[in-house]
């Protein structure tokens, strides 16, 4: 191995097959030490399978997984220094909260009293000391969640795996737990691998995100990267809300693609490598990076008619119809109301894009 600090987890060409079905198609990725790493994707994308392969509950059909430079394939789960926070928490219903947290320590050979003492400290960390003697069923969902966290952290694993741990909580609690998890990760310095299908959750918490779909890695990067520079249609569509327009590329001039879309609208946007003149590609642009004007101030502005304004609390969503073209969604912050960017339905308007907001996608 090289001299630098090895990666916490290194997945090398890992494949997972169940009979004829391939759940993971040759995935390679490295997760750095002390990183909050998220596997994001819709259900069935293989993210949980990958997590369970790291935990040791699924074997690897092909390829290898390394934990701090050492191959772990073949080691049973109880010999891997990684712990899991299960989706349904899997708190042992017949043991008290304290004994749940002490379980891993005891299995590692610590005495009962030492384990309990340490477990007590862990409960303090998650502010549940007063519930030590209760059974899990007597706790609320959020409390159970924290017990599960304390239990998995107690044996000080090298990597903590979290399998959609917040999915059972209501919105407010989920938001609070997101921050708490992030803090815990900073405090403990343990590498977290977090699995979720909730893109907002992923964007909020992660240092880096791996977007997965149908057993393949679609894009890997930090939150900004993935949101602002989606690599393909899937990522653009899955992360946040976007307008996806079919466009034809007329020509490429000094890094700018000059395109047109249905109805003869022309526009110019930054090109990307794979795009060639004459090809039909997609254009992705986030609704919040569009704005309406009454007059055409910019050659890139598209002529349209306002169809409907929908009030959604912090924002106003406006649907406009491009002349002879598709529908476009525009999101305007409510604080912009005074800036004359909201028009009544039926008003002819121009749709403008912020500079660099449009992104071309080949597939």
């Amino acid at each position: 191995m090289s001299l630098e600090q090895p990666n916490a987890i290194e997945v090398r060409d890992a494949v997972k097959r169940y009979g004829d079905f391939t759940a993971l198609k040759t995935i390679s990725l490295s997760i750095k030490d002390n990183e909050f790493f998220t596997l994001l994707g819709p259900s069935g994308c293989g993210k949980t399978t990958l997590l369970r392969m790291i935990a040791g509950f699924e074997d690897v059909s092909e390829g290898a997984i390394f934990l701090y430079g050492e191959e772990i394939e073949g080691l049973p789960p109880h010999k891997r220094p990684v712990n899991t926070v299960f989706q349904n928490y899997a708190l042992f219903p017949h043991k008290t909260v304290l004994d749940n947290v002490a379980f891993g320590l005891q299995m590692r050979g610590n005495s009962k009293s030492d384990s309990r003492k340490r477990a007590g400290e862990m409960l303090e960390l998650v502010q549940l000391s007063q519930f030590a003697g209760r059974k899990p069923a007597q706790l609320s969902g959020g409390q159970q969640q924290r017990v599960a966290l304390a239990r998995a952290l107690a044996p000080q694993p090298k990597v903590l795996l979290l399998d959609e741990p917040l999915s059972a909580l209501d919105l407010k609690l989920r938001k609070a737990m997101q921050l708490e998890l992030k803090h815990l990760q900073r405090e403990t310095g343990i590498t977290f691998i977090f699995v979720t299908h909730d893109q907002e959750e992923a964007l909020t918490m992660s240092d880096r995100i791996a977007v997965m779909s149908s057993g393949e890695l679609q894009q890997l990067g930090d939150a900004r990267d993935i949101y602002e520079r989606p690599r393909n249609m899937f990522v653009a569509d899955f992360i946040g809300e976007t307008n996806l327009l079919d466009v034809s590329v007329d020509r490429i001039e000094s890094g700018q693609a000059i395109c047109h879309l249905g109805g003869g609208h022309a526009l110019t946007c930054p090109s990307v490598e794979e795009v060639a003149a004459g090809s039909k590609v997609h254009l992705s642009v986030r609704p919040e990076r569009l704005f309406l004007t009454a007059t055409q101030d910019d050659g890139n502005a598209l002529k349209a008619t306002v169809r409907e304004n929908i009030f959604v609390g912090t924002d106003i969503t406006t649907l406009v119809d491009l002349a002879d073209g598709p529908e476009i969604i525009i999101r305007t912050s409510n604080s912009e109301r005074g800036n004359q960017r909201i028009f009544d339905p039926g008003t002819p308007v121009y749709v403008n894009m912020e500079h660099g907001a449009a992104r071309l996608l080949v597939d």
Partner: protein
């Protein structure tokens, strides 16, 4: 006057039929329990309240016979239910936690065989079997037969319970450094306990109740409570039989109560 709400769920007469149903189920038992307290030696007339037939069961001329039969019954039921429960627990672990395998359906068929084959057929088959291998009929033959037919009765509640326990508990245990054996003994088995107790109690009652198979495989002169009662009833129903029946009835109700309490504590935990 209030108007009655139109309740889509309720049908006229169903309550009455339910009460009739309970009446039919309980009337014979209650009548026997009441008549067991009859002072008269004749079962036809009521001569006042007395415990004399209960005393008679323990001290009367037939007491030795009934005591032996009762001892046989309980010893056989305890051993048969224990062995059947152990076998069923192991089998349920393999069936519920052993993955998909070809022999799974066959194993399930074999385990449920005693439930599918009519009891009288099992009785005949077992008799033929012991006879053909020259096994002398006695307590041991009864015990072996009971172990076999108790297995499915122990198996059903145990496997039902195990199916209700998500395997993520055992995975969590292994994730927390428990070996497979530790995950079984420290996590799965304690969680299984209510199912195992129910299975044991059911097997115990089934063994204690059995008449047909026991009647075929018991040796001459060997009696369990049901065969002894049956033999006595053939001579006519006597008050002491009603006293024994009432005691057994009380014992059964006690067992149901225990089983009910076990399943209830389970829900609160």
């Amino acid at each position: 006057m209030t108007r009655q709400r139109y309740d889509i769920k309720s049908y006229p007469g169903f309550l009455q039929i339910t009460l009739l149903c309970l009446f039919v189920l309980y009337a014979p038992l209650i009548v026997v329990a009441v008549y067991s307290l009859n002072a008269s030696a004749s079962i036809a007339v009521w001569e006042g309240f007395s415990f004399r037939w209960y005393v008679d069961v323990f001290t009367g001329p037939e007491s030795a016979k009934f005591k032996t039969a009762a001892r046989n019954s309980f010893v056989i039921a305890i051993i048969a239910a224990s062995v059947a429960t152990a076998i069923a627990t192991l089998a349920a672990t393999a069936m519920v936690r052993g993955g998909k395998f070809r022999l799974r359906a066959w194993s399930f068929g074999l385990i449920s065989l005693p439930l599918m084959v009519p009891e009288i057929v099992t009785a005949v088959a077992t008799l033929i079997f012991f006879n053909s291998i020259g096994f002398d009929r006695g307590l041991l033959t009864i015990l072996l037969a009971h172990i076999a037919f108790c297995i499915p009765f122990a198996y059903l509640p145990i496997s039902a319970r195990m199916q209700g326990i998500e395997d993520s508990y055992e995975q969590a245990a292994q994730d927390l450094y428990a070996t497979k054996r530790q995950a079984f003994t420290k996590i799965l088995l304690p969680l299984m306990l209510p199912g195992i107790i129910s299975g044991f109690l059911l097997a115990f009652i089934i063994s204690l109740d059995d008449f047909i198979i026991t009647n075929f495989v018991k040796g001459a002169g060997v009696e369990t409570l049901p065969t002894a009662i049956f033999g006595a009833v053939k001579q006519g129903i006597k008050p002491n039989i009603m006293a024994i029946s009432t005691m057994l009835l009380g014992f059964s109700v006690l067992m149901v109560l225990i089983s009910y309490l076990v399943s209830r504590t389970d829900k609160t935990s």
